[in-house]
């Protein structure tokens, strides 16, 4: 007596499932053919704004960024008459400029969205006109409503989520391509229910009431039932076709719209790429806090000094000409509110004047730089994959620089390290190993006088072939046949027949979601058991030239808990058989071992052999079902299938119930080929100081063998294996492992310049192999800590049989306990959680569909691209971005300090000698463009050097380009340079006739030249673009100064012309620039020669080699 004991043998209880729907309270009722205005229409709107709402909404969105609020607060502060530092127009300008640029960009994007929305909404679809008999009239997509019956032709895009009612295929089969939805290019099979298909073919129209779940974003799930002719038919994910998919290889299909417009699954899934923050950006916050403290300190200093000055001169203020406290026409004080208030006002003004020290424009510059870097990464030919025709893609635009700091690489195995192109290599059938495969031409079948050949031929074992062809009465041959029948039938493969150039020949292409299944189906075909056709109800298999029809009575899909799938097949000889295939661990649990112990043992031995060869293994079994058994199962199956809620669990328990006492047929070994260049790539990554961990769902032996074949594991490594079934034993093995790592640590030498793994320095390398079962007891318990300790001491870690969430757990183990950056790379849906967990997620455009790519931050075609991505682009991005941030801090600090020194000579009243326009243009124009261009284009080392010396990558891992020391150094340089810029003219012009505007122009120009020279001195690769921007910016500054001083209404009118006419100006400019740069130059010269970084030596090697080449070419010609 199971949970599905036969209770009522008639129809499934309609009220029961009705109740289920009501209990959930979440269902929608749709009358087929009756458009319902109750639900959302099919018009989609991806555009964010309308003409009316654009301004308020866009401003609202923009001001959600904190930096803009800071900007706004400063601007508002400046509008108070007492505090106004800059003129109103001038102070609003930068904010207005940034807002305007962003608004224009947003508006442009939105207009494009509006256009595409309009195009989408105005597409036409054939919709059944109500109250007519089967007349389909064109209707715009936006007018389609839930309940409409829509007819779609081949290659047309589906306008909404629809339940299939009927298709051109008599069995109700339809194929769709879901590339727009999840990126998978293989065809998916969808079915119309027999009931609706029949009803339609009978009178060309379907009527009924459909109950389905409320709209949700699960693309792979759908539960509904349909009342038709008083019957209740269950509907599942295979009965629904989704908006955005294309109908393929099906002349027409008719469906009823269940979700429309914004409620369709594709629209609900329409969320942007994940947003992560880069390491540098997080670290930058620390420096921002320091700068804020500096800002407040400067403001307090200025305001307190102002207060002291006022206090000392309190009694003089009335008659002092430059203060003139009193307004004699009114007799009151003018704009003077006592010392306390004056201090406060001065403080606010100081905030406005010195706010630039926190470089808000840096965030905008960083975004632009990342955009440029992303462009160059995408354009790199070395990251282009010929086989999948995919470019490198930056999906997350804000973590480019993290690529240069990776310490841990977590890699999926299948499809990432390997090609995920499976090839059937060997079989063990009934305890006999058939693995001496020879290339074969494959077998063909004759259909309608045409020759149908499977697209791929598999190496076949001659002995096995002989056995199959010669004697079918033999018991052994029967088992072999059963084995191949199981391979051909127990899958979800759809055979597609393709035309070839020869009209007499056709190709059979097996389309399916699992590459293993494809390999098995091709294998069966090569041995003469050719799957020819699949519909929802039956499969046609050509068994050694004899075409037979097998009814598929039920299918228990593969799930990761059971790790197996099964079909229940009605055979031509009227027997009912259950075919099961699955992972050996799950299969040996359900095998009837008592009957054929030898067979099981032999198979186990073969499995061990296959997996140690690096092959993926599957065990195949079968059982003949007796009539009562079958009926019991069928009843339960039907009941479960019509349930709307909880169907998945019901089906799982039914599957578990029937999959028992299995008679083992055999096992298969499938080769999973390594991708190109994987061992070399792993070697490079490891040399670069990264730890490569492999997380795979495969079993231990397979994982280890792949580890060997990709050179992650070598024979001189000491392997620590943790493979236990209880918490206690896990604890014990972890403690043992820890003890072993300690031994190695003791043996290792002390005092190496860089932290080297204990295991590596002592000569022997430790490799840790952990099993998924053990991880259950370790992850998220107190044993985690010990695993972490062991794992970080080992240079290689392999985790096998891990579930998707465990993958994420392992990533989190490292991510949460260290500051090291983690990168996860994978290609399948099971890698999504790991990709999202890691600091950087990389998706491989592979065979397993687009889910990993959709979740990733970067996507590319091959695992080996990781090497140029990290070692070259990551390195560049990191060092440029680190430099750019520091430089921006430095340049703004220099300018603000120059302003600050001047305030000391204005009785602390925050006058700026530099015109307000120059102050505002300083960050926007005078100094911003070169740093952006340098951030995009400069390269410290060439690609070839970085690839030749992978250890150069360590610079990023050790935070060499951005750290507190460098920040302090930059601030000291800013201090020195500001002193030089300010005080050299100060002493030169002390007690002279110099005017404020003239001196201000000199200070502005000197600051701009000095900070640009600093940049120029640090640029490593001068190409013409960088030349244009660096020198062009200085020229632009001069032009701006001339323009500003040509406006007669400004006090500085004519000042620059006047001061530039003096020899002293030029002498001062020269000495300022030289004096300001001398320390930087001297430090640079000293450190580059006497304490050279690896990068510096790399640069020398580059130059040296280039020199050598020139010399050798010369000597060749002589």
């Amino acid at each position: 007596p199971g949970p599905f004991r036969p209770s009522r043998r008639d129809q499934p209880d309609p009220s029961a499932s009705e109740r289920e729907l009501h209990e959930g309270g979440e269902y929608r009722a749709v009358a087929v053919g009756e458009p319902s205005p109750e639900f959302a229409g099919n018009a989609v709107r991806t555009a964010k704004y309308s003409a009316l709402t654009f301004l308020p909404r866009n401003l609202f969105e923009q001001f959600r960024r904190l930096s803009y609020v800071y900007f706004l607060a400063i601007t508002v502060l400046n509008q108070l008459p007492q505090v106004a530092v800059f003129g109103r127009g001038a102070s609003v300008l930068p904010l207005a400029f940034v807002l305007f640029v962003t608004a224009v960009k947003d508006a442009y994007e939105d207009i494009r969205r509006h256009r595409s929305d309009r195009r989408e909404n105005n597409r036409l679809a054939a919709v059944l006109a109500p109250q007519t008999a089967g007349e389909y009239l064109p209707k715009k997509w936006k007018h389609i409503r839930v309940g409409d019956v829509v007819r779609v032709a081949s290659n047309e895009t589906l306008p909404a989520d629809m339940v299939l009612l009927a298709t051109s295929d008599p069995t109700g089969l339809a194929h769709v391509q879901t590339v727009n939805l999840d990126g998978e290019t293989n065809l998916k099979t969808r079915y119309a229910k027999q009931e609706t298909q029949l009803s339609f073919s009978h009178d060309g129209h379907v009527a009924g009431m459909l109950h389905c779940e409320r709209p949700n974003r699960n693309i792979y799930g759908f539960q509904a039932n349909l009342e038709i002719d008083g019957k209740r038919v269950s509907l599942g994910p295979s009965n629904i076709v989704l908006r955005g998919c294309e109908l393929k290889n099906t002349t027409w299909a008719i469906g009823v719209v269940v979700y429309a417009g914004k409620e369709t699954k594709v629209m609900l899934n329409n969320s942007g790429p994940p947003s992560k923050r880069s390491r540098l950006e997080t670290q930058l916050n620390r420096e921002t806090v320091i700068l804020s403290i500096m800002l407040i300190g400067m403001c307090i200093t200025a305001s307190v000094l102002a207060g002291i000055w006022l206090l000392n001169h309190q009694r003089e203020l009335e008659f002092t000409q430059f203060f003139r406290e009193k307004d004699y026409t009114t007799g009151k004080n003018y704009n003077y509110y006592g010392i306390g208030m004056q201090i406060f006002v001065t403080f606010l003004m100081a905030v406005i004047v010195y706010q630039v020290i926190i470089p808000i424009s840096l965030y905008i510059s960083m975004e632009l730089v990342r955009l440029g870097q992303a462009y160059f990464m995408g354009a790199d030919n070395d990251l282009y994959d010929e086989s999948s025709r995919s470019r490198f893609q930056c999906r997350a635009l804000n973590i480019n620089e993290d690529l240069g700091q990776i310490k841990y690489v977590f890699s999926d195995k299948t499809g990432t390290l390997t090609e995920n192109k499976m090839e059937f290599m060997c079989a063990s059938i009934h305890g006999v190993d058939y693995s001496s495969g020879k290339p074969a031409c494959g077998s063909s079948v004759v259909v309608d006088d045409l020759l149908w050949t499977p697209k791929m031929a598999v190496r076949t074992d001659p002995q096995l072939l002989k056995l199959l062809n010669n004697d079918s009465s033999n018991e052994e041959a029967k088992l072999v046949l059963e084995f191949f029948l199981a391979l051909a039938a127990c899958n979800t493969i759809v055979p597609l027949v393709l035309d070839t150039r020869d009209p007499k020949q056709k190709l059979i292409d097996y389309q399916g979601e699992s590459p293993d299944e494809q390999a098995l189906a091709y294998a069966a075909a090569s041995y003469g058991i050719v799957l020819v056709e699949r519909t929802s109800g039956y499969v046609v298999i050509d068994v050694l030239g004899d075409r037979q029809r097998f009814d598929i009575l039920g299918l228990h899909e593969f799930d990761s808990d059971r790790k197996r799938m099964s079909v229940i097949v009605g055979c031509p000889d009227k027997t009912v058989k259950l075919y099961v295939k699955g992972a050996d661990s799950s299969m040996f649990g359900i095998i009837n071992k008592s009957l054929e112990l030898d067979n099981v043992r032999a198979t186990e031995a073969h499995l061990h052999k296959y997996s140690s060869l690096g092959l993926r293994t599957l065990v195949v079994g079968m059982r003949e079902l007796s009539q009562p058994e079958f009926e019991e199962w069928q009843l339960a199956y039907e009941k479960a299938s019509t349930a709307v809620l909880g169907r998945g669990n019901l089906l799982r328990s039914i599957a578990a119930n029937v999959e028992c006492n299995i008679h083992i047929l055999g096992a298969s070994g499938i080769e999973d080929k390594l991708q190109d260049g994987v061992p070399e790539a792993i070697e490079s990554l490891r040399q670069a100081g990264m730890k490569v961990w492999i997380l795979t769902g495969d079993k231990q032996e397979t994982a280890i063998s792949i580890g060997y074949s990709c050179k992650l594991l070598t024979n001189d490594m000491t392997q620590i294996v943790i493979n236990n079934n209880s918490k206690e034993s896990c604890k014990r093995s972890l403690e043992e492992a820890l003890a072993r790592t300690k031994e190695h640590r003791v043996a290792s030498s002390i005092g190496s310049p860089y932290p080297v793994l204990a295991s590596e320095s002592s000569g022997t390398v430790l490799a840790l192999i952990v099993d998924g079962n053990s991880l259950v007891y370790i992850l998220e318990t107190e044993l985690q800590e010990e695993l972490f300790k062991v794992a970080t001491e080992c240079s290689v870690v392999l985790c096998c049989r891990v579930a998707p969430l465990q993958k994420a757990g392992i990533v989190a183990l490292i991510k949460n306990r260290t500051d090291d950056m983690t990168l996860a790379i994978g290609d399948g849906a099971n890698d999504v959680s790991m990709i999202q967990m890691a600091d950087v997620g990389v998706g491989i455009n592979g065979q397993e569909g687009g889910q990993a790519v959709m979740a990733s931050d970067f996507s590319m075609g091959q695992f080996r691209f990781l090497v140029p991505l990290l070692l070259v682009h990551g390195h560049w991005n990191y060092q440029r971005m680190g430099y750019m941030i520091l430089y921006n801090f430095y340049k703004n600090a220099t300018f603000v300090l120059v302003l600050f020194w001047y305030v000391l000579y204005t009785s602390f009243t925050l006058t700026t000698a530099i015109t307000e326009w120059s102050s505002l243009l300083y960050t926007v124009l005078y100094t911003s463009l070169p740093t952006i261009v340098v951030g995009i284009l400069d390269k410290d080392l060439s690609k070839s050097t970085l690839l030749a010396y992978p250890k150069l990558y360590g610079s990023g891992q050790r935070n060499e380009k951005y750290n507190l020391n460098l920040f302090v150094l930059n601030m000291l340089e800013a201090l020195w340079q500001s002193l030089v810029v300010f005080y050299i003219p100060y002493f030169a012009y002390r007690q002279s006739t110099i005017g404020m505007s003239s001196l201000g122009d000199l200070w502005a120009l000197a600051s701009v030249i000095v900070v640009n020279m600093q940049l120029a001195m640090d640029i490593i690769r001068w190409n013409w673009i960088i030349h244009v921007f660096v020198w062009g910016t200085i020229a632009a500054t001069v032009i701006c100064l001339f323009v500003i001083d040509s406006i007669w209404v400004l006090p500085g009118y004519g000042a620059i012309y006047h001061i530039m006419g003096q020899g002293l100006f030029w002498l001062l400019l020269l000495i300022i620039v030289v004096t300001a740069m001398v320390p930087h130059f001297a430090i640079k010269a000293f450190s580059e020669h006497f304490v050279p970084s690896d990068i510096q030596i790399g640069r020398e090697i580059e130059k040296f080699e280039a020199l050598n080449q020139v010399l050798s070419v010369d000597s060749y010609y002589q």
């Binding site: 000409q321 004699y328 009243t909 006058t911 007690q991 690769r1021 006090p1051 000495i1071 001398v1078 006497f1090």
Partner: protein, 342 residues
């Protein structure tokens, strides 16, 4: 004619559509996209470092010597008179009293031959012409256009008179115009101090209107400084124009006029000063400056010393680096210096 295979005949080669070799999206190759633009990669080799420092030194020392020489050629006489010209203790009361005689005579002996033109400056210390209240207290539009005479909002409290007539020129800057006058005698002979062309031409031509005449100026309760002749247009009021070029620093000199006659060594220069300007209320000081000019401006040793210092520093850095490079040699571009090879 197998009814079991109805749909198979219509399968086109659709799923192969994306493998059409023509539709490649391989990035186009260019030196720009592959970041291979020809580029110069300067390295700070010992030769370059030493050459750079030596070059700077070699350039700066002569410049320093030349500037020092030029500065030494300048003859400058500075005489502070703010204290000596007020005989009483209540200096502010003295200066604010319009009836006291403020004439004051100072005598200087010229130590060296002074070649004309000899610039006459007044030097004020402690006057913050760059004070925020002060700098902004002016109306530039009013100075140029008659129609803008009423634009005095920035000039409060020196914007309008008590009966709301606009003051031209308004604001504290104009109001506080310096009004000491100097009469110069060389060896007892009155010598003309030319006050023409002491202001910038650009200011006279474009900033101050030729048809703008002072009005309501210096009529308030508190007198800030000089009064202006209401029959002379602003563009000709050169003292005002000079004054309104606000000084950058609190100690500044402004051009008063030029003596276009040479003065010999040991000549006696007597200056009769009308000591009108109130620097006493804020504790400032005043001085009279007679100075010749050179190509680096007035007397200014700083620039020469700075050049010599930096030049000397660079030369010694060049020497220092030379020694360092000799002491600690390092093979240029030697992979064995990489941190993991050491």
């Amino acid at each position: 004619g197998d009814p079991g295979l109805p749909s198979s005949a219509m399968y086109p080669l659709e799923m192969e559509g994306n493998s059409n070799p023509k539709t490649t999206n391989k990035p186009k190759y260019s030196k720009f996209t592959q970041q291979e633009l020809p580029a110069c990669k300067p390295l700070l080799t010992p030769e370059i470092v030493i050459a750079a420092f030596a070059l700077i030194g070699a350039l700066f020392v002569p410049i320093g010597l030349a500037s020092l020489h030029a500065s030494r050629q300048v003859v400058e006489l500075v005489h502070r008179y703010d204290a000596s010209c007020v005989p009483v203790d209540d200096k502010v009361g003295f200066i604010q009293n319009s009836r006291t005689d403020k004439t004051c005579t100072v005598t200087m002996t010229v130590p060296k031959y002074m070649k004309s033109p000899i610039h006459v400056y007044y030097l004020i210390d402690g006057f913050y012409q760059n004070h925020r209240r002060y700098v902004r207290s002016r109306s530039d539009k009013q100075l140029r256009y008659k129609s803008a005479a009423h634009l005095t909002s920035d000039c409060v409290p020196e914007g309008d008179t008590a009966d709301h007539a606009p003051i031209v020129p308004c604001g504290l800057v104009a109001w506080s115009l310096f009004n000491d006058t100097y009469t110069v005698r060389v060896n007892g002979v009155v010598t003309q101090v030319n006050k023409k062309d002491i202001a910038w031409k650009s200011d006279k031509n474009n900033k101050f209107g030729k048809n703008i005449y002072p009005s309501n100026f210096q009529k308030g309760r508190l007198i800030g400084g000089a009064t202006l002749n209401e029959s002379i247009p602003l563009s000709e009021q050169e003292d005002l124009i000079v004054w309104m070029r606000t000084a950058a620093l609190p100690t500044f000199r402004k051009l008063y006029g030029r003596i276009e006659k040479d003065i010999n060594a040991n000549d006696n220069v007597t200056v009769v000063i009308q000591n009108n300007y109130n620097t006493y209320s804020f504790g400032g000081s005043k001085a009279l400056v007679l100075s010749t000019a050179s190509w680096i401006g007035g007397k200014n040793n700083f620039i020469g010393i700075a050049y010599l210092t930096i030049g000397g520093l660079c030369l010694s850095l060049a020497m220092g680096f030379l020694v360092l490079y000799m002491v600690k040699r390092r093979n240029f571009g030697d992979p064995s210096n990489l941190s993991w090879n050491r």
